[in-house]
């Protein structure tokens, strides 16, 4: 089994039932998928790998807490900041903070 599938030791013990009322009002896997594609989760998604990838990624994205999706990955240290912050010549050219006019063309 790949390392990422190893359950945290305390998963079962730490489980907390949010209660029926909360569960009914929360988005579910199916409703999250329907919100994006207007179709229910069905077996036809298995016929075409990109469709299955879309389903799993939508659910992953919508269920993801803020922060790293892979807290146990040692290499997942986050992008390094851009390294050039030295003296500038017109460093802020794009837009310069001004809102771009939209209705004048």
């Amino acid at each position: 089994m790949p390392a990422f599938l190893t359950p945290p030791a305390a998963t079962t013990l730490a489980r907390v039932d949010p209660g029926r009322t909360d569960a009914l009002t929360e988005p579910t896997l199916d409703s999250a998928w329907q919100a994006v594609t207007r179709t229910a989760i069905g077996d036809e998604l298995l016929e075409w790998p990109p469709d299955l990838l879309a389903l799993t990624e939508v659910i992953l994205e919508r269920s993801r807490p803020t922060g790293s999706p892979c807290p146990h990955q040692p290499t997942c240290a986050g992008r390094q900041p851009a390294s050039h912050n030295g003296p500038t010549r017109s460093p802020t050219r794009p837009g310069n903070g001004a809102p771009e006019p939209r209705t004048l063309t």
Binding site: L60, G67, C70, S90, T105
Partner: protein, 590 residues
């Protein structure tokens, strides 16, 4: 359909929990669900391998699946059957070395919610297609115009707008000098003399007028240049509209050029400080904010597979700095190189362009090349600073920022970039894959134009032949050519099944809701099938070589379409052969 055991088991676990709240996942309350979801995600992602650039071979069924998926991608801009207006799945060209967003969990395909149109093009490029690992791509950078006058900037007629005491107007950039084709010719001759071949010619933002593209491509074809990337300015088609500002990506295929257009999405805003920096105060009043007068079309991102595993995207000037939906798609796909033509000051590592190039080089790990005109770099003279000759900047993944000047007396710069294997990562515990490509290093030479070129002086350049297929159709033709090359190399018996798949009326197109090939595309496909079929039927050990030989023999009086078809097949066969020989060599040395 037989479903593999693990897939069936994990799918059953997920389906049983379809009504479970998402917080079961967020809070890891249902570990079995987490396990099923991540396993299904990894399986689906692995099954998307090779739907874009395919460095590794698959069996007969895999070849057909890839070809169908690529036709779907060319037609709809998505690999998924779900309408692209809801969700879009694109191939991934590269992955970052590190990262913390959900997208780093996949390495072969990226999922995007709508907001931006994306198109995927395959260009069967001659020189680049046979690019083995460790070879170089020669880019000739022409940082032109070499001189820009103050009068090249002018206000666009019409009343100035006053917005809460903050007046603004619109300006346009219309250089007085036309593109000097004779100088292009002589510079190319010098560059080829120095490097042997020039693969790609690049010019800055707005360097070329729309009407000059045909003549330029005709000239480049004479020099056997594979691709052109240039900023283009185009006068409005009707009064009351603004001009257009876009990047033209032209790819030479057979006797014709395929054209791809990446529009600019954000206007340049010139304020007091910049008007003084570029010494434009006599043309544009410094107390007014001047916006670039360009049409801003619907946002779209164009990706071009240039062969040799290299995928290219282009962002124009300001667009490099925007964190909008286009930037999101570029980051998700991770093209091998992002070319950014600019109308900007010197490309110093301390300026804004370098910062954003650094961001893309870190994540998703694309090489970024920025190029401005020497004329504009020279106009940029902030108080107390001398003009800088640095017209370009290169930032590759894991490499130092490289400023590239145009030396005195030089007309162009030859930038040779070495493409090499790269690791594809997914941060979900899968082992890294070794089927990526990245630019690992560059070298730079100054080019001084020869006194004579290839063309007689002032020779009228005839119009290039009209494209016989659209860009999407060329992508489809290339996809099927790749499938045939793969089949000839590994499963010649599957050629007939492939031939049946390609034919009009094939059921899978109905199932994927794809329209039938147009008559020209059908003709081009059939002529390709004929060559592959003959090579496969001849038997023996080397059908790939037989097909390559047959595709290389042009027929007397062959039509432009047949010529194109042969060129596309030849390119795919050469690419496959190069990969095969590369693999054999690596095996021998291991």
């Amino acid at each position: 359909m037989t479903i593999p055991g693990l897939l069936a088991q994990e799918w059953k676990a997920l389906r049983a929990r379809a009504e479970a709240p998402l917080s079961d996942l967020t809070d890891a309350r249902d570990w079995r669900l987490c396990e099923a979801l991540l396993t299904l995600h990894a399986i689906a992602d692995e099954a998307c391998a090779g739907l874009g650039v395919a460095l590794h071979a698959v069996g007969a069924d895999g070849v057909r699946y890839r070809a169908r998926a690529r036709e779907l991608l060319a037609r709809t801009g998505s690999l998924a059957r779900i309408p692209a207006r809801f969700i879009r799945v694109l191939p991934k060209a590269g992955t970052p070395a590190s990262g913390s967003s959900a997208r780093v969990l996949s390495r072969y395909a990226a999922v995007q919610v709508p907001g931006v149109e994306a198109r995927w093009h395959k260009a069967p490029t001659g020189g680049l297609t046979a690019l083995p690992h460790g070879e170089t791509v020669n880019y000739l950078l022409l940082p032109w115009p070499l001189r820009i006058r103050e009068s090249d900037f002018r206000p666009v007629a019409g009343p100035l707008q006053r917005l809460a005491g903050d007046p603004f107007g619109f300006f346009e950039f219309t250089p007085s000098e036309r593109l000097d084709l004779d100088l292009v010719d002589r510079t190319l001759a010098a560059a080829r003399d120095q490097a042997g071949a020039v693969d790609v010619v690049i010019l800055p933002e707005s360097a070329v007028d729309h009407s000059e593209i045909d003549g330029l491509e005709t000239l480049l074809a004479q020099h056997q240049v594979t691709a052109l990337i240039t900023g283009v300015r185009e006068r409005p088609a009707r009064p009351g509209r603004f001009p257009s500002n876009w990047v033209h990506i032209g790819v030479s295929v057979g006797e014709q050029w395929a054209h791809i257009r990446q529009s600019k999405h954000h206007r340049w805003s010139l304020d007091d400080a910049q008007i003084r920096q570029y010494h434009l105060a006599a043309a544009l009043h410094p107390h007014i904010r001047w916006w670039e007068a360009i049409e801003v079309p619907r946002r779209s991102a164009q990706f071009v597979e240039l062969g040799g595993g290299i995928t290219l995207a282009s962002l124009i000037c300001e667009d490099l700095a925007q964190t909008d939906e286009v930037a999101g798609v570029i980051r998700a796909v991770g093209p091998t190189i992002v070319v950014t033509p600019l109308l900007d000051g010197p490309q110093l590592s301390s300026r804004w362009g370098a910062r954003y190039a650094g961001v893309l080089a870190d994540d998703p790990g694309s090489a970024v090349l920025t190029l401005t005109s020497f004329g504009m770099a020279q106009r940029s003279r902030p108080p107390g600073q001398a003009p800088s000759p640095v017209v370009a900047l290169w930032k590759g993944p894991g490499q130092h920022m490289r400023e590239i000047p145009l030396d005195r007396g030089a007309h162009g710069i030859l930038l040779s970039a070495t493409a090499g294997p790269a690791v594809r990562r997914s941060f979900d515990g899968r082992r890294p894959g070794h089927d990526g490509i990245e630019f690992s290093g560059v070298s730079v030479q100054q080019i001084r134009a020869f006194s004579t070129g290839m063309q007689p002086l002032h020779a009228p350049a005839g119009p290039p032949p009209r494209p016989v297929l659209t860009a999407d159709e060329l992508t489809i033709l290339t996809s099927w050519a790749e499938a045939m090359a793969e089949a000839l190399a590994f499963a010649p018996v599957s050629i007939e099944a492939l031939a049946a798949d390609i034919q009009p009326g094939a059921r899978w197109r109905d199932q994927l809701r794809l329209r039938e090939p147009s008559p020209p595309l059908r003709h081009a496909i059939n002529s390709m099938i004929q060559i592959a079929r003959t090579a496969a039927a001849a038997g023996g050990d080397l059908p790939l070589q037989k097909a390559l030989f047959a595709a290389g023999n042009s027929q007397p009086d062959q039509s432009a379409l047949d010529g194109l078809s042969r060129a596309v097949l030849r390119s795919a066969l050469q690419q496959r052969q190069t990969r095969q020989s590369g693999k054999t060599k690596r095996r021998r040395t291991e």
